[in-house]
């Protein structure tokens, strides 16, 4: 491990270098720029594999390695190293990011083949990967924050990639700003941590939170505050309730971007932050409960929204929100949950990337049409896409033995485990997770059947065709992952054990419903929901224009009024405040000073009357002065005598 740790910085270095060359090289790199991007990402992935094998061959207790690069910030008591922390958790992310990221890079070469700015696109993709790797490799909260915001920047650039259309630019800005709202939380958390621990290095903070350091530490209330601040940050980045509104709009970017954001980077960062800060969460049980609640709410929220969306990408986006909700829920459930959260994140990374790439493939074949009501019966025209998406669909449904089953079922099971002997929490969150699984099954099946099943609903000027190999190969690889990865890693608890150096070992508690009945119950619900969707969207006709729908449907189509709420609660008051302050600055603040000036001027005008220009008047004034002085002197002399 020690001999290869020096490679770790290159995980960030390769894609960063790639981005720099592509951005600074300008048009000169247009011809081969995309391949450079792919190469940079591949190099990172290869480096990742090398490190992974090195780590596997290291004893479990030596797998957490801090690698110091240089002193980044050292002033006024704050010492932050620029360094890398490589442990199983970050290793997992490195592999996810570099591997899936590379596949998406390859896919994009073909997907963006006709875009004149493909080079720039690859520069941003590389930047995205670099930022995400910085985030997961950071050895301090401050460095993590660098990657955290870097991801935000990259997503901003990519969502707004086609910013010659104003709405895309607005969506990009919305994503960045909402992320920043979350970032406030991270800054506040760092401030709190520094004030209490005197450091922001993981190596200092996490043991302090775990109570392993004598003399350093803070009260539960403080840790709760820290954890809630971190949660705010995670909500922003991972599009959790109430900062979820940017995710749907983020579909403005090219489809590979969506795949990258949803599967490998960005939204998973929140879950990473939660798991990374596990000791802090555990020092703050209240915060844990809040995390679970946020996860649960988002889980249902995303699922409900997903049921109503006709835009294939937005439906997938809603699904991501919901799936990340699962992970957050798991992350709030303690040590066992962490493992499943990350596990689900990993499997989700594969099948969601596959689904998005599939959706991109469909759009590619359908001239960028995204309305599922204008798809239908595409399975004949896009067989590879159909099969790979079908595997991804089964995975996300959590059907045995696909990947999703191993991770999602784990979460549901964990949710049913009572915490602190409080069975109501087990029942509540367990059922939410269960219901969420059912709804997930419904809307994902709806998506799948509306796209590939039923009759064709597209016009004659569409000529659906299968995508080129550069696009299908990554999809196939991802589909394989969706099928097999979960099973491979779940057997014998491989993955949970793998993470133990980070999350600590924890025994499974007993769920309130025994394991096998729960699996069966889940499957019954999931398959039932899928059949319902099949009947509704594959067997019966799907109207090309959306019916008015029930109240809930209409609300869900409008994202359960999330934008309306934000506009009413934040934007409108903000605009009113801005306008009134701009007016007030001119009228009151500046007006006050100008008024003061005007008063002086007016007094001057009055006094100016005395300056009539007549020498004799001036002489009279002089004489008056002399008289006054002489009089005063005389009186003073008289008095003193």
């Amino acid at each position: 491990m020690e001999n290869v740790i020096g490679l770790a910085p290159w995980l960030v270095g390769f894609p960063l270098l790639g981005a720099a060359v592509l951005l600074l090289g300008g048009r000169a790199t247009d011809r081969w720029g995309h391949w450079l991007g792919v190469a940079a990402s591949t190099a990172a992935a290869v480096t990742g594999f090398v490190l992974l094998f090195a780590m596997i061959s290291t004893p479990a207790e030596e797998r957490v390695v801090d690698h110091h690069l240089w002193t980044w910030l050292s002033a006024g008591g704050l010492d932050v190293d620029l360094g890398v922390r490589l442990d199983p958790l970050s290793m997992t992310f490195v592999m996810l990011v570099t591997f899936v990221g590379t596949l998406i890079h390859v896919y994009s070469v073909a997907y963006m083949a006709h875009d004149p700015h493909r080079r720039r696109f690859f520069a941003y993709l590389n930047l995205f990967v670099a930022a995400m790797l910085t985030l997961v490799l950071a050895d301090s909260y401050l460095l993590l924050f660098v990657g955290w915001e870097g991801v935000g920047l990259a997503s901003y650039l990519l969502i707004g990639f086609w910013d010659h259309k104003r709405p895309n630019a607005v969506a990009a800005k919305k994503a960045f700003v909402m992320n920043r709202v979350g970032d406030m939380g991270l800054i506040a958390a760092m401030a709190l941590i520094f004030a209490n621990v005197g450091s922001v290095q993981f190596a200092d903070v996490l043991p302090a939170a775990a109570g392993e350091l004598s003399g350093v530490g803070a009260s539960t209330a403080t840790w709760t505050a820290v954890a809630l601040c971190l949660l705010l940050a995670a909500c922003g980045k991972s599009a959790q309730f109430p900062l979820q509104a940017w995710l749907g709009d983020a579909m403005a970017g090219p489809t590979p971007v969506s795949a990258l954001i949803h599967a490998a980077t960005m939204v998973t960062a929140g879950v990473y932050l939660m798991v990374r800060s596990a000791p802090i969460l555990e020092a703050a049980p209240t915060a844990q409960l809040v995390v679970v609640c946020v996860g649960a709410v988002t889980l249902i929220f995303g699922a409900v929204v997903g049921c109503a969306k006709d835009d294939i990408k937005k439906a997938l986006a809603a699904s991501t929100m919901s799936q990340i909700g699962y992970m957050m829920l798991a992350a709030g459930l303690g040590p066992v949950g962490y493992g499943f959260a990350i596990f689900h994140l990993l499997t989700h990374g594969f099948f969601k990337a596959g689904l998005f790439l599939g959706a991109g493939s469909v759009m590619h074949g359908m001239d960028d049409e995204v309305d599922m009501r204008r798809f239908g019966g595409l399975s004949r025209f896009l067989p590879v896409t159909w099969i790979t998406m079908g595997l991804g669909w089964l995975a996300i449904l959590g059907v045995f033995p696909f990947s999703g089953f191993w991770s999602k079922d784990g979460i549901i099971e964990t949710a049913f485990v009572p915490v602190d002997g409080q069975p109501w929490r087990a029942w509540l969150f367990g059922s939410v997770a269960l219901v969420g699984a059912a709804i997930t099954a419904f809307y994902m099946s709806r998506l799948f059947f509306m796209t590939f099943g039923g009759q064709r609903r597209w016009d004659d000027d569409h000529h659906p065709h299968e995508s080129p190999a550069l696009m299908t190969v990554p999809m196939i690889i991802l589909a394989i992952g969706s099928v097999a990865l979960g099973g491979l890693l779940a057997v014998g608890g491989t993955f949970t054990t793998w993470l133990e150096p980070v999350t600590g070992h924890a025994e499974h508690g007993e769920p309130v419903i025994p394991f096998w009945p729960l699996v069966i119950l889940t499957h019954v619900l999931v398959i039932g929901a899928a059949l319902l969707a099949f009947r509704q969207y594959a067997v019966s006709r799907v109207p090309v224009t959306a019916p008015r729908g029930s109240l809930l449907t209409r609300a869900a189509r409008r994202d359960l009024f999330q934008d309306a709420t934000n506009e009413t609660l934040v934007m409108l008051p903000g605009q009113v405040l801005t306008r009134s302050l701009v007016y007030g600055d001119k009228a009151v603040v500046d007006g006050g000073w100008l008024g003061l000036g005007a008063t002086v001027t007016q007094v001057g005008e009055k006094v100016r009357g005395m300056q009539n220009g007549y020498a004799r008047s001036y002489a009279a004034m002089i004489l008056t002065g002399v008289l006054v002085i002489a009089g005063v002197a005389g009186i003073a002399a008289a008095v003193s005598q």
Partner: protein, 510 residues
Amino acid sequence: MFPWLTALIAWPLVAAAVTAASGRSRSGAPSPRLVALVGALVEVGLLVAAFVQFDTSRAAEHQLGQTVPWIPQIGASYAVGVDGVGLLLVALSVGLVPLVILAAWREQGGDTLRLRRYLVLILVLEAFMVAVFSARDVFLFYVLFEAMLIPAYFMIGAFGQGPQRRYAAVKFLIFSLTGGLVMLAAVIALYFQVPVDAQGQRSDQAFLTENLTGLGLDPTVERLIFLGFFLAFAIKAPLFPVHTWLPDVAENAPVGTSTLLICVLDKVGTFGMLTLCLPLFPGASQWAAPVIVVLAVISVIYGAVMAIGQDDLLRLIGYTSVSHFGFIILGIFTFVPLGVAGSGFMMLNHGLATGALFLVAGFLIARHPARSQLIADYGGLRTVTPVLAGAFLVAGLATLSLPGLATFASEIMVLIGAYGGSPVAALVAIVGVVLAAVYVLLTYQRIFTGAPAAGLETLPDLTGRERLVAAPLVVALLVLGLVPQLALTYVDAPADQSVVAVLENEGSEQ
């Protein structure tokens, strides 16, 4: 020991004189702008030499200077010397001037004579700026503080592009003078606080800062004198609610002037707070800190909200500075070493980031057929002028303190540090981070995204000269972002010393 600072102060004056004499009618004579640029670059060379001479292990001490009696009768001396913070600000002034000159290459209507006058003023201002950051004598500091107004006044009023340039120049002058005169009263009052010797005489170096430190003033006197100084610095900085001159100046002055004025000259305000107010009046600083912190936080939020609401691009940038100065002041007056160091660092970074923003905005405006400054007159320029858009975005990201750029390191230091001193203030100030994202990205969105605005479809992209202007700033922001320690070694010790001065005083009072 060679008096590096005196050389740094004197050289721009020489360059100004040569510039003033150059380009007179003879066709063979070098053009004034070339002379000015070479002069400014030689100054940069001097600066590099000064940096080499500076001993970072003694960063809290004043170095590179000299002390010569000036008016011994009133205890004034020509005493110069810089600590780490001063050196960074000197570097900022010296570094920005060649860029500003280069940026003004084709400004002032291509009129060589007019441009020559402008460049001479820039160089004179540079000398004053370097001098004011290195003054170690309060009287000298005051004189320079006021002297800077003269070139600045003309650089706004005579060379501005806005319709209200004279109004702005006069407003700037009156605000600054008001503060300056109150400060003069405080300076005089301070002189009389210096103890007299057996003959009833005061030291002929009474105005040296070290002779004014630790006088053990009467609290009331100390507070009054402190307020005199602080008012001048707050106006200069500018702090809410005495900021209103700044947007007018930003709107009407040429961008080069705004760059020097807001990015460098205004730092005198915060620099003065850090190097004069804190060490000289530790008790009063603590006494006034709660109010100042509140004003600083208001500045942060207020400046940002105002920036969001602006229609004029340069005015907007002006308001962003109000917000940033709020951060700097917040960092100084929470008396936490980390925050103070962050403020010192931020003074440098704000100059780089806002300077870049101003200069790039200047390039943008110069391209508009009507030289419009209204954001609404632009649109969709990313596709037309990608490099310009990129430069603007980087400058904007630096303004919103994106991690990886230098501004981030300083801002986070201020926020984390301020939390240690005043948690509520820090938490409120964090909101400024979000607002910064809004004003930067909103502006970028309005100017550079969407379909190109009518009449702007064929604007040329940044020329080589303009790229040469933007590149050093961007590189500096990136390098200092990745290795902030390069600058922090200069800032850390002086910041520590300032805080220690305040806290020791507190200890002695208890």
